[in-house]
Amino acid sequence: MDDTVVCRALTKVYQEDSVAVHALRGIDLVVPRHDFLCLSGPSGSGKSTLLNLIGGLDSPSAGEVRVDGLKLAEMNRSELAQLRLHRLGFVFQSYNLIPVLSAIENVEFVLQLQGMSFTQRRRKARAILAEVDLQGLEHRRPGELSGGQQQRVAVARAIVSEPSLVLADEPTANLDSVTAENLMALLRHMNEEHGVTFIFSTHDKLVMDYSRRLIKLHDGEIAADERRT
C-alpha cells in the first residue's frame, strides 16, 4: 500500500443555525506517493474542507481518511498532533508564520517540537532556507519579509521535517503572478527532489498548470479528475 492519502465516502456537513450545509458529499480519493495534486473549483466547492479533513484539523461527518495507512478517526488528539508533527506539513494562504520568531526560528520551530538539538536543527534550517532562495534573510522577522518570501519560509518549514505529505490551501492567493509562479516552481522542485506528496488548492489557472493531477470540485463532489503531463 503505497498511497499517501485514501479518502472513502468522505462527507462533511456543517450545521449553520438549523440549516445543514453539505460541504463534501461522499468524496472517494486516492493520492499515491509523490503525487502533485491540485484541487480547483469555485468558491464554496469544499476545497478547504477537504484539505482540513485530510490534515486531521477537522473531523468528517461520515466516511474515512487514511494518511500513510493510518486511520485518522481512530487517533486521539495527541496522536493526531504527532502525525502532523512527523508526517504532515501545512502551508496556509497567509500569516503562516509566528511573528516573534525570525525566518530561521520559524523553520526550526517544528524541528524543536520534534526534539532535535540546536546545532542540528540550525544546520538543517539553514540548508532548507538556502534551497528556497532565502539565504541572507534568515534572521528577519516575518514582518520584515515580503509576502512571497513569507510563503517561501512557510514552504521551508513545511518541508524541513521531511513529511510524507504537504497540504497547501491557496498558498499563492496573496501573491502576484510572477511570485506565485516562482512559489509553484519551488513546490514542484520540492516534490521532485524530496519525493514529498503535495495537495494544494487554487483558483488560479496559472497555478493549476503546474499540477500533475487536477481535481475539480463542484458543490462538494469530484466533478473531474485528470492526469496532466
Binding site: Q82, R84, L101, Q112
Partner: protein, 407 residues
C-alpha cells in the same frame, strides 16, 4: 517549551506589558510596605505595652490569674527574685504587691490600684520610674511615700508633697490604712495606668497590707522575644513543682493585647487578599485579551504538530515571566523603601497621639524578614499562576480549523 519565545511574546505590546508589570510591581511594593510595617508595629506594640508595666513574664499564685485576690500570694517573693537574678538571664526581675484602696486627698476620693514596688529593681521591668513628670521616683524601700499617675493626681487635685490617704483591706481581711506623701507624678503613656496607679515601696506595702514577706507578682522583663517560651519553662523548672506559684506569659496577663493584634492582623489580611484578587483579575483580563488575539497563531502551532499541552505551557511561561518581571521590580523598590524606613523610622501625623494612648513610640520600624518581604510576592505569584491556568487550559478546547480561521 521555549523561554525565548515566551519572552518575545511578552513584548509584542510593550506598553500593555509595562502597564501590567507596573500593576504587579505597584501592588507588590504596597503589600511589602504594609506587611513589614504591620509586623514591625506589632513588635513595637508588644515591646512598649509590656515595657511600661506588665513585663514579659510574671510569677503569680496559681489562681491569681483567674481571680486576683489579696490572699493569693507568692511566699518569700524577694527570696525567689534574688534567686532568679542570680540564675536566670537577663536578670531583670522585680517584686510587686498588688492591692486596691480608696485613695483620698483633702478634697476627693477615687478607687486606686496600689502597687508595692522595689524602688531599686522596678526600673528594670517598667518605664514608669523613668517617666516621672514632676518630683522623683521612690527611693527608700520602707518609706511612706508614693508616686501616682498624673491623671489620678489631677482628679484628686494633688500637688507634690501633699498627703494621700489609702484605705483598703489587708491580706488577712483587716483594715489596711496608711497616709503617704506624694513625691512624684508619672505619665506612663498608658492612659489606664495614669488614671488608677499608685506606687509605694514594697516594704511599706507589705507592712500596711499585712503581707509578711509575700507578694503578688514577680515581674520579669528583657527576654528576647524568641526565647520567651524557653525562659518560661526554665523558670518553671527552677521554681520547683510545688512552689505554689506559676509562670505566666504576657499573653496570659495581658490577653487584650494579643487579641488586639490578632484583630488588626485579620483586618490587614482581608485588605491584602482583596488587593491581590483585584490585581489578579486585572492581570487575567489583559492576559486573556493577549491570548485571544493570538488564536490563529495557536491554530497554526496546532497544525504544525504542537500539542495543546505545549502551547498551554507556553502561556503559563509567559505569565510566569510577566509576573516575575513585575515582582522583581516590586521587591527591589519595596525592599528599598522598607530599608529606608528601617533606618529612619516611619511616622505619620496623628501617630504620636495614637501611640501615646497605647504606649508605643512615635515612629515604627518595619520588620525585615524573609517572611515579611517574601509573603506578598509569593502570594501574587500563586494567584497569577492560578489565574493563568484559565487561558492555558482553554487551548485544550481549541479546534484547529476554527483557530486557524480566526482573525
Amino acid at each position: 517549551m521555549n523561554p525565548r519565545l515566551a519572552w518575545r511574546n511578552l513584548w509584542r505590546h510593550p506598553r500593555r506589558t509595562w502597564l501590567t508589570v507596573a500593576a504587579i510591581a505597584f501592588s507588590t511594593v504596597l503589600l511589602i510596605f504594609s506587611i513589614t510595617l504591620q509586623f514591625g508595629s506589632y513588635d513595637i506594640w508588644i515591646d512598649h505595652a509590656l515595657g511600661v508595666y506588665h513585663g514579659q513574664l510574671q510569677i503569680q499564685h496559681p489562681d491569681y490569674l483567674d481571680k486576683p485576690q489579696m490572699r493569693k500570694t507568692v511566699a518569700n517573693a524577694t527570696g525567689v527574685a534574688a534567686k532568679l537574678r542570680r540564675d536566670v538571664d537577663p536578670r531583670k526581675v522585680a517584686v510587686r504587691g498588688i492591692g486596691f484602696a480608696l485613695a483620698s486627698s483633702q478634697e476627693r476620693s477615687y478607687g486606686a490600684q496600689v502597687i508595692g514596688v522595689e524602688p531599686g529593681y522596678e526600673p528594670e521591668v517598667s518605664t514608669i520610674p523613668n517617666v516621672i513628670r514632676d518630683g522623683r521616683f521612690l527611693a527608700d524601700p520602707d518609706a511612706a511615700e508614693a508616686v501616682i499617675g498624673a491623671t489620678l493626681a489631677r482628679n484628686l487635685k494633688l500637688a507634690l508633697g501633699d498627703e494621700l490617704t489609702l484605705l483598703g483591706a489587708g491580706r488577712d481581711g483587716s483594715v489596711a490604712a496608711t497616709v503617704v506623701q506624694v513625691v512624684g507624678f508619672f505619665e506612663s503613656g498608658m492612659a489606664e495606668l495614669d488614671r488608677v496607679l499608685v506606687e509605694i515601696p514594697l516594704g511599706h506595702f507589705q507592712e500596711v497590707f499585712t503581707m509578711g514577706d509575700a507578694a503578688h507578682a514577680i515581674v520579669i522583663a528583657g527576654i528576647d522575644r524568641s526565647e520567651l517560651d524557653v525562659q518560661r519553662d526554665q523558670i518553671t523548672t527552677l521554681l520547683g513543682a510545688d512552689a505554689g506559684a506559676r509562670v505566666r506569659t504576657w499573653e496570659e496577663t495581658l490577653p487584650g493585647l494579643k487579641q488586639a493584634i490578632q484583630f488588626d492582623m485579620l483586618q490587614g489580611w482581608v485588605l491584602y487578599v482583596s488587593l491581590i484578587v483585584v490585581v489578579t483579575f486585572s492581570i487575567l483580563n489583559t492576559f486573556l485579551m493577549a491570548v485571544l488575539e493570538r488564536t490563529r497563531e495557536f491554530g497554526i502551532m496546532l497544525a504544525l504538530g504542537a500539542s495543546p499541552a505545549r502551547i498551554g505551557a507556553l502561556i503559563m511561561q509567559e505569565s510566569l515571566l510577566l509576573t516575575l518581571v513585575g515582582l522583581s521590580i516590586g521587591v527591589l523598590v519595596g525592599l528599598g523603601i522598607t530599608i529606608y524606613f528601617y533606618i529612619n523610622g516611619f511616622t505619620y501625623p496623628g501617630l504620636e497621639e495614637y501611640g501615646a494612648e497605647f504606649g508605643f513610640p512615635a515612629s515604627i520600624t518595619p520588620e525585615i524578614s524573609f517572611f515579611s518581604i517574601g509573603l506578598a510576592p509569593l502570594a501574587i505569584l500563586v494567584f497569577t499562576l492560578v489565574a493563568a491556568l484559565y487561558p492555558a487550559l482553554r487551548i485544550f478546547g481549541l479546534r484547529p480549523v476554527e483557530a486557524i480561521h480566526a482573525v
